[in-house]
C-alpha cells in the first residue's frame, strides 16, 4: 500500500497519540475553578504557549477551534461581520479564487446572505495572487473593503503565495488579511508575527495531530463576531468547552512540525522531485500543475493533469494497485467536478478533468515513489482508453 494522500490527512505522530491518550484519562473542564479544572486549564495554556511558539505567535493570539474549516469560517464571516458592523460601507470581500471550500463557500455565503460583494483576485498560471493585484483591487475603493483572504499555500496544486508582501499591501490600507495556512504549517516557515497577517488558520490532523482540532491565530486588535455563542471561552470569540486531549496532542504535533520542518521539507521534497521526474518520464504529455520551481510550491505536493483521462478513472485504477492519492477536486453528490483551482489557473475544462494530486508525509518512503513509477504509464493508458465520459 502506498499512501500518497497526506494533504487529505496524515497519520498521527506517535508523540501526539501519546499526548492525547495520556490526557484522555483525566477529567476536568478547563473553565472549572477546582483542582481538576485547574489541571485541565494548565494543560490547555501550556499547549497554547507551545503552539504559539511554534507558529511565531503570542499565546493570546491562539484561538482553538474544532478544525480548519471552523477557523476559516470564523475568520471570514467573523471579521466581515465585525468590520461591516463598525462601518456599513465595508462590504467588499477580496479572495483568491483558489481557496479551499472552507473559505470559498463561506465567502459565497456572505454574498448570498449578508450583503457582501465578493471580488476574486486574479491569479497567474500557477494559481498565485500577486501583491499588485491585491493593491489594485483595494485601491479602487479602500473604504469599502471588509477583509481579504488569500491562502498561504494551495492544497491542490501546492502553490505558495507571497504572504508577507500581500500582508504589507493590506496593512498599508489597514485592511485585515486572513490566510489559510492549513497546508503550509509544517512545510513552510509559518511565522504569524513576521507574516503581518491579521488572522491565520491551522489544523491538527494535517500535521500529525488529531482530527477535530484547529486554531485561528488572531491578532489581538481583532474581535470577529463569533460563530458560536455560549460560555465565552477563547477570548469570547469561540465558545465551547475546551477539548483538552486534542489541544495537548495538537500542540505536541505543532512543536514537532516546527522543529522538524527543514529536515521534513528536504526529505519529502526529494521524494516529490523523484516522483515528478518519474511521472513526466513515464507519461510525457502529463502536465505538472502549480509552480514548477520547487521554491514556489509545497515540498510535499505533486499535481498532474493527464490529457484525455478522467481523474476518477485514474483514481480507481491506482486504488486497485494499492496506491492511494486524490484527484484534488471537490465532489458534488460524489461526482468529481473539474477543480476550481485548476480552472482558475487557466487550464481548459477537459484537461482539468484528468488531475491527480500526490502528497507526501512523515511516513512516505522511496517505495511509495517506486510504486507509482511502476504503474503510472499503464494506468494512464488504460484511463485514456476509457476516455472522458
Amino acid at each position: 500500500m502506498a499512501y500518497l494522500d497526506h494533504a487529505a490527512t496524515t497519520p498521527m505522530l506517535p508523540e501526539a497519540v501519546q499526548a492525547m491518550t495520556a490526557q484522555l484519562a483525566f477529567a476536568g473542564n478547563a473553565s472549572s475553578l477546582h483542582a481538576a479544572g485547574r489541571r485541565a486549564r494548565r494543560t490547555v495554556e501550556e499547549s497554547r504557549e507551545s503552539l504559539a511558539a511554534s507558529l511565531g505567535a503570542r499565546p493570546s493570539e491562539v484561538v482553538f477551534t474544532a478544525g480548519g474549516t471552523e477557523a476559516d469560517n470564523l475568520a471570514v464571516k467573523g471579521l466581515y461581520w465585525a468590520r461591516r458592523d463598525a462601518d456599513p460601507a465595508r462590504r467588499r470581500v477580496l479572495a483568491s479564487p483558489v481557496e479551499h471550500h472552507a473559505v470559498l463557500d463561506a465567502v459565497d455565503w456572505l454574498a448570498e446572505h449578508e450583503g457582501a460583494t465578493v471580488e476574486y483576485l486574479p491569479v497567474d498560471s500557477h494559481g498565485r495572487v500577486h501583491p499588485d493585484a491585491l493593491r489594485e483591487a483595494i485601491a479602487r475603493d479602500p473604504d469599502d473593503v471588509a477583509l481579504a483572504t488569500v491562502m498561504w499555500a494551495n492544497n491542490e496544486i501546492g502553490t505558495v503565495m507571497p504572504v508577507r508582501e500581500l500582508a504589507d499591501v493590506a496593512a498599508e490600507f489597514d485592511i485585515p488579511l486572513h490566510a489559510d495556512a492549513v497546508q503550509a504549517f509544517g512545510q513552510l516557515d509559518v511565522d504569524f508575527a513576521a507574516s503581518g497577517l491579521a488572522a491565520m488558520t491551522v489544523s491538527g490532523h494535517k500535521i500529525g495531530g488529531p482530527y477535530g482540532i484547529g486554531a485561528l491565530l488572531l491578532g489581538r486588535r481583532y474581535a470577529p463576531v463569533p460563530l458560536l455563542h455560549g460560555g465565552g471561552q477563547e477570548r469570547h470569540v469561540r465558545s465551547g468547552t475546551l477539548d483538552v486531549p486534542a489541544i495537548a496532542s495538537f500542540a505536541v504535533a505543532g512543536v514537532l512540525a516546527a522543529e522538524r520542518r527543514e529536515d521534513f521539507a528536504r526529505e519529502v521534497g526529494a521524494l516529490r522531485d523523484e516522483l515528478v521526474e518519474a511521472v513526466l518520464a513515464a507519461v510525457p504529455d502529463a502536465v505538472l500543475g502549480g509552480d514548477p520551481d520547487p521554491a514556489g510550491r509545497l515540498p510535499a505536493n505533486a499535481h498532474f493533469s493527464f490529457p484525455g483521462c478522467e481523474g476518477d478513472s485514474l483514481l480507481l485504477l491506482l486504488d486497485a494497485q494499492g496506491i492511494e492519492c486524490s484527484t484534488g477536486s471537490a465532489c458534488t453528490a460524489g461526482v468529481a467536478q473539474p477543480s476550481h483551482v485548476v480552472l482558475a489557473t487557466g487550464t481548459d475544462r477537459d484537461l482539468a478533468r484528468g488531475t491527480l494530486r500526490f502528497s507526501f508525509g512523515h511516513t512516505s518512503t522511496k517505495e511509495d515513489v517506486a510504486a507509482v513509477r511502476d504503474v503510472i504509464a499503464s494506468v494512464v493508458e488504460r484511463a485514456r482508453t476509457a476516455g472522458l465520459s
Partner: protein, 363 residues
C-alpha cells in the same frame, strides 16, 4: 448501485462469489437536487449515499460516474421527442440499451473490468458453444427480462444478473440484505420514471413541450372536446379526457389515436382499441436474428402478460400478428419476443392494425 436493495444484494452476491467487484453509482443528473428527492428513484444524493454505504459494508470500492450528459441526450431527450411525436416510450429499456450496457459497459471494459453486474431479475444462460441466452428470471413474478430485451449478444456476454437465477421473492431479498447488514434492506422499491422528480409525467412533458390546444374528435372526426397538448395522451387511456359529456351510447371512451401533426386526439369505444397485428422497427436480437415466420409469445409492457404471436422479420421491420386481439398497444412501446423463457429479441412498435370496427361489433 442505485442505492436500492436489489443492486446492493447483487453486488454482495457477486463479491461473495469471488469476483473483484467495484460499486458504481450512476449520476444521471447534472443537478441531483432537480431530480427526485426522497427514498425512491435512482438520482438523488441520498441514493448515492445509500449505495456508498452498502459498498462499504460489502467491502468493495465505490465510485460515482457522471453519465448525466449521455443520459440527457440518449434517454431524457428521446423520451420527450417520442412523446412529442405521439408515441409512448419506455425510458428504462432505452437506459439499459444506451447507458447501463453501453456507456457504462464500454467504460468498464476499457478500465479492465469484465462485466456489468446489476440487480435486474433475469437469467443469462451460457451455451456449450459459448453463445449466451437471456431468459426470464426463475421467479416470473419478479421477472425483468422485458426491460433487458434490448441487449444484443455482445452486451449479454458482459452482463451479470446475480438475482435472476434463484427463486427469491422480494421479501427474501430484503431478508438477505438485512442478514448482510445492508441498511437499504427496508428501502421502498423504486418505480415510475427516475428523472421525473414528482412522478408527474404530464407536468414534465408540459414543461418541456409547452401547451398547445387541439381537438378531441370521435371516430367519425366530429369534434367533441379540446385538450392542451396531444403528447399528454396515451393510446388506451380512459381517464383524464375531460370531454364533459358522455358518448351517445353511454359507453366509456378511450384514446384510439394521437396525431401530433394536426394536434388531434381521437377517442372511441373500447372495441376499437383491439389490435390484431403490428409493425415494429429497430429490432435488436439476443443472438442471431430469426428467419422466416416464427411462433412466439410476446410481452408489450414492463408488467404486462404474455400473448401468442407469429412474427416475421422483413428487412429491418418486424411484422407481428396476434392470435387474439390485444388492447392498449401504443407506438413507441417495445415488443419483446420470447421462445419459452428465452428472450429472442425486441423491437419498437411503429404502427398497429386495428380490428375492423364492424368485426368488433358483430363479434
Amino acid at each position: 448501485m442505485s442505492g436500492g436493495v436489489d443492486s446492493a444484494v447483487a453486488a454482495a452476491r457477486a463479491a461473495e462469489a469471488g469476483h473483484e467487484v467495484t460499486g458504481v453509482h450512476l449520476a444521471l443528473s447534472a443537478n441531483p437536487q432537480s431530480f427526485r428527492t426522497g427514498a425512491r428513484g435512482c438520482c438523488t444524493i441520498e441514493d448515492s449515499r445509500d449505495a456508498r454505504r452498502a459498498a462499504d459494508v460489502i467491502g468493495i470500492p465505490f465510485y460515482c460516474w457522471d453519465l448525466a450528459e449521455r443520459f440527457r441526450e440518449d434517454v431524457v431527450e428521446d423520451f420527450i421527442a417520442e412523446y412529442e411525436a405521439g408515441r409512448t416510450p419506455n425510458p428504462c429499456l432505452r437506459c439499459n440499451e444506451k447507458i447501463k450496457f453501453a456507456a457504462l459497459l464500454d467504460k468498464a471494459l476499457a478500465l479492465g473490468f469484465d462485466a456489468v453486474c446489476t440487480g435486474h431479475y433475469a437469467t443469462v444462460v451460457l451455451n456449450e458453444d459459448g453463445t449466451r441466452e437471456l431468459h426470464r428470471a426463475s421467479d416470473m413474478a419478479k421477472d425483468q427480462s422485458y426491460v433487458l430485451g434490448v441487449l444484443d449478444e455482445k452486451q449479454l456476454a458482459h452482463a451479470m444478473f446475480p438475482l435472476g437465477d434463484t427463486l427469491t421473492t422480494k421479501d427474501e431479498i430484503r431478508a438477505e440484505a438485512e442478514r448482510r447488514g445492508l441498511a437499504v434492506a427496508k428501502k421502498p422499491d423504486s418505480h415510475d420514471i427516475c428523472f421525473i422528480a414528482d412522478g408527474d409525467t404530464q407536468g414534465f412533458l408540459a414543461k418541456h413541450l409547452g401547451t398547445s390546444e387541439g381537438d378531441i374528435v370521435d371516430e367519425t372526426g366530429t369534434k367533441i372536446g379540446t385538450h392542451e397538448g396531444a403528447y399528454g395522451f396515451t393510446i388506451g387511456q380512459r381517464k383524464g379526457l375531460r370531454i364533459g359529456h358522455p358518448a351517445p351510447d353511454g359507453k366509456p371512451r378511450y384514446v384510439l389515436d394521437i396525431s401530433p401533426v394536426n394536434n388531434t386526439v381521437t377517442v372511441g369505444p373500447v372495441e376499437a382499441l383491439d389490435v390484431t397485428a403490428l409493425t415494429a422497427i429497430k429490432p435488436r436480437w439476443c443472438g442471431v436474428a430469426p428467419e422466416g415466420v416464427g411462433t412466439y409469445t410476446a410481452q408489450l409492457r414492463a408488467h404486462g402478460g404474455e400473448t401468442s404471436v407469429t412474427a416475421e422479420l422483413v428487412g429491418e421491420e418486424l411484422r407481428v400478428s396476434f392470435a387474439e386481439p390485444v388492447r392498449g398497444v401504443a407506438p413507441g412501446q417495445a415488443i419483446v419476443l420470447y421462445d419459452g423463457t428465452r428472450v429472442v429479441g425486441s423491437a419498437t412498435i411503429a404502427a398497429t392494425d386495428r380490428a375492423p370496427a364492424n368485426a368488433a361489433h358483430s363479434g
